[in-house]
Symmetry: C2
Amino acid sequence: QMPRGNLETIHHRALVLAQLRKWLDSLKFKDVFECMRKLRINLNLIYDHNPKVFLENTELFLKQIDSINYINLFLTELKEEDTTKTMYPCPSSTASKPATPGTGGKKVDIVCDALRTTMESLDPQKYCLCILTAHVKKTTPELETALQKVHELRVNPPSEANTVSAEEALKYLLFLVNVNELYEHSLGTYDFDLVLMVAEKSQKDPKEYLPFLNMLKTLEPNYQRYTIDKHLKRYKKALHHLSKCGEEHFTEALNLVKDQRLYSEALELYPADSPQYKVLSVAYAEYLVEHQQAEQAGLLLWRCGETARALQAFVSCTSWRHALAVATQIPLPAEELALLARDLAEKLIELRRHTEAALLLEQYAKDCEEAISALIVGAAWEEALRLVYLYNRQDIIETNVKPALLEAHSTQMSFLESQKALFTRHKNRLAVVREMKEKARLELLDEDGPDCPDAELFSEASSVMTGSHLGSKYSRSNSRISARSSKNRRKAEGKKHSLKEGSPFEDVALLHALTQIIHVVDKMREEVHSLLKALVLFQYDKQACSLQQDYSEILQLIETAIPEIWHEGLQQTQTPVTGPNSTANSIMASFHQQRLSSVSQADSEALSPPKMRSSVKWKLCILK
Amino acid sequence: QMPRGNLETIHHRALVLAQLRKWLDSLKFKDVFECMRKLRINLNLIYDHNPKVFLENTELFLKQIDSINYINLFLTELKEEDTTKTMYPCPSSTASKPATPGTGGKKVDIVCDALRTTMESLDPQKYCLCILTAHVKKTTPELETALQKVHELRVNPPSEANTVSAEEALKYLLFLVNVNELYEHSLGTYDFDLVLMVAEKSQKDPKEYLPFLNMLKTLEPNYQRYTIDKHLKRYKKALHHLSKCGEEHFTEALNLVKDQRLYSEALELYPADSPQYKVLSVAYAEYLVEHQQAEQAGLLLWRCGETARALQAFVSCTSWRHALAVATQIPLPAEELALLARDLAEKLIELRRHTEAALLLEQYAKDCEEAISALIVGAAWEEALRLVYLYNRQDIIETNVKPALLEAHSTQMSFLESQKALFTRHKNRLAVVREMKEKARLELLDEDGPDCPDAELFSEASSVMTGSHLGSKYSRSNSRISARSSKNRRKAEGKKHSLKEGSPFEDVALLHALTQIIHVVDKMREEVHSLLKALVLFQYDKQACSLQQDYSEILQLIETAIPEIWHEGLQQTQTPVTGPNSTANSIMASFHQQRLSSVSQADSEALSPPKMRSSVKWKLCILK
């Protein structure tokens, strides 16, 4: 026999954990707890091993442990981490553990609440300190509830012996929580007894806190609470209490609202027909206008009767329907209304919203000529004609409509011409770039292909030099587009690759440019259709024919080109390179290599073929 | 020594072709031609070997051959096929051949025209028959030109000896072309001498053709040509000649136009201000209305002054702007105009074009109440309010606007609820279906994987049983959607896979359904924004808040789900199954197998993630 030594106190952790799991499965919490404590194993495992079983057996747990200190120890050691995954992974059956019950929630909170509820139902006095711990340990500590419980102990001291006194409880709390924090939270209960109790226990100088507390005591209750809330930076609560303090404090409330931007909250605290509501609305509106939300400002002003200000807000954001509604409600004198309409119409024309501008000019400024002119500029031919006949101004057809039609025709023709040329140029260049890249790719595969010792290694190395990365040695900073506003940022993102010949990602840039052209051309269907009809109506059949033919041709060109440009292998990776000499490694290498040439989100959009709205019929069958 | 035999007359084709190519390269056409003729090698090779060189040396070719018969032989043997690609592929340098010069065009036409031009410049009389052959052999034989040349020979017989007579030329033509065809074409020249010449040579009975020719001779020239054109079924030419025959023949012309649907052509033949133009326009319009092109009919009628009919046409297709323009031009009495406006408004409301309906009701029917009501039904809140204030009818706000707002709110809320539920259900089901398929795929690979003798075979076999084809044993006819109109066809196509659990392609069907929901929900941005503003305006802040929150939630839900549903490996094929046991064959098998589960065009659309219009801002910042 070997001599006995210290060996028996050395425990193999795996064996220990196996034993602990067995015990946990048979609900031997006492054995588990003592063993863990002795061997310094993280107590979280008790819960983590099987959360469901633990939560179903909290009472058994508490009764087996049966020690305030041990329970407090367990509670204070709780962490969000799942120890079965980090410190003590179970070797077998990794996936067998059922998911945590309940709707997620945080583990610490779940355990604290479960144990606290059980303790409160078993014996709240016995478990007093544990209950306090459970409150304090939550992810957002419930200090006020804990303080409230201490306060209750003080007001109604428990009659039985062996129970915890308010004194002891407070001491324990101060042991768990920073004293200043506890003091602040005691203030938050608005309970001066509690505050004094905490303050006395703390190391604070009474000269510091007594004057403040005494001042508070002189205040009207709501204003007192407001003052405390403000002191604690609980501004929403502060506003709530201040709003109950009557009109004399309204200016203070308004300042608080402005300082803390509590506009929405403030509006809920005052009746909609009160003068305060109106003042708050105006303040909110001012804030909104400053922050580019004039339309919402207008809504707030209008609904509280501040029509003049509302009008201003609506005009500033060209919310013309609302502006005119308010203007007629005020009501604005006829001349002013007409002026307003002209102003708004001008803005709308700048925004290329000609039909709306025309409505304003026609109905509010009573100027049918200007209205028709706006419609002609906006190529709203049908609506222009409707007004021409409505106001019996057929003379305008000869003087304005017909010349505008012919001009629109020639503009469209030359635009189509330029788009067609650009499209063809980009398409041809893309074919060239692709051929170059494919050649470079195959050359590289030829060099290292079949005998490559490590496919993984190879693919990583190659990605730097081939595929879309070909030529990434050139600087990528030659894109000079500056994203002026957030609105333009997306656009700019699409353009970040340069179209310059030989630039890296030139193929992606070309795809972007082609997509852009396709969208622009496809978008013209409605406009072309309407122009064709107007041309036919005024016997410009020859012009209509040429436009129809040209547009038809470019659409046809694009439709034929789309499957060529966005060929099948573009989104799906291409078939791996195989052949008589290929090996598993060489195939995987070519596969990986293609995957690594994958590109960013914006780029991958360019990789999917743009959709044409072929359901939008624009052709006139009467034109050949 | 071996006895000599027939061996020397046997030629190895490859050797012969090599020799021919050498000769062709050194432009020895004579040698080439005779060799080819003797060994029955297709003469097309002379051109196909190098089209550019041949076209540049036509004169040399003609001079070397120097035989009318040989040239004719060459011309008649011409075929569209490229013999260097089909019959006589060149073993070396397959890609070295330069592309055919010129803008494509058909080979036969190119050669015929090239040779003919050269012959005409060299000696038109000598090559007379060859020139005729070149005309006749073109893809669309130029019979009339050939006939014309024969006719010239007859009128101006060549003075020199040894030249071809008209007689001989005609005989030769009849040898190349069917006699009836030639007779018809001779008629088409309107030249009776020529017709008689051909007719005499033909086997036709003079009793058959003479009366017809004599009758034709009595006619006025244009009418004569019309009669011939009609006889030859050349209706466009017929119409052209008939239009020159004066008013008394207009009815005949109109009937021809109607029979042959030559409306566009006819309109070009008459001045726009003529009565015939108007009659033709009316006829065309009737035809267009019958063929569901009422708007274009309306345009034709309006421009020729047929306002009443134009009005009818515009009304029938709800082209309301044009309808009202015509109506005011007529001008319709006020009451009738109001009635017309109401009719059109009703149609527009059916088409859910409420804003346009409101304009009609307001401006033409002078009924602001109905107009506002239409706007409320169409949820055009801003426009409704504009009219409410314009007509000083604030009472409508309480009676109609507010109840409608609250109803719209609850409708939207429950719609969002239902979409959310459906989306979640489909998404969860998709996860289940995918897991099942992946399991089936891996099981199959496990079975036959590494030792599979023929990857190609394996992949084909497996495609029947796995991947997206899992369960294809079920009938696919359970889709009960019938494509009613071509407009719905695309939609129906997307729905062709059944959502029924366990149906084949259930995953694709689920993707389609999810895409559909996403589009519907994303489309609501504008409507929700406008409703939110209206709710806020009338102090329904609570309702606005709940709507904003619910809509925000479902958008968030979708945005989070999109990358899960359309994960990276969906469009690109997934990574091939690899591992320590994998071989080149097994990898390729898994790769092929994935590719074979690729689906139709409509399905592949479902495979790309739908785009959300996140640039459309709909939230109100004043709502929490």
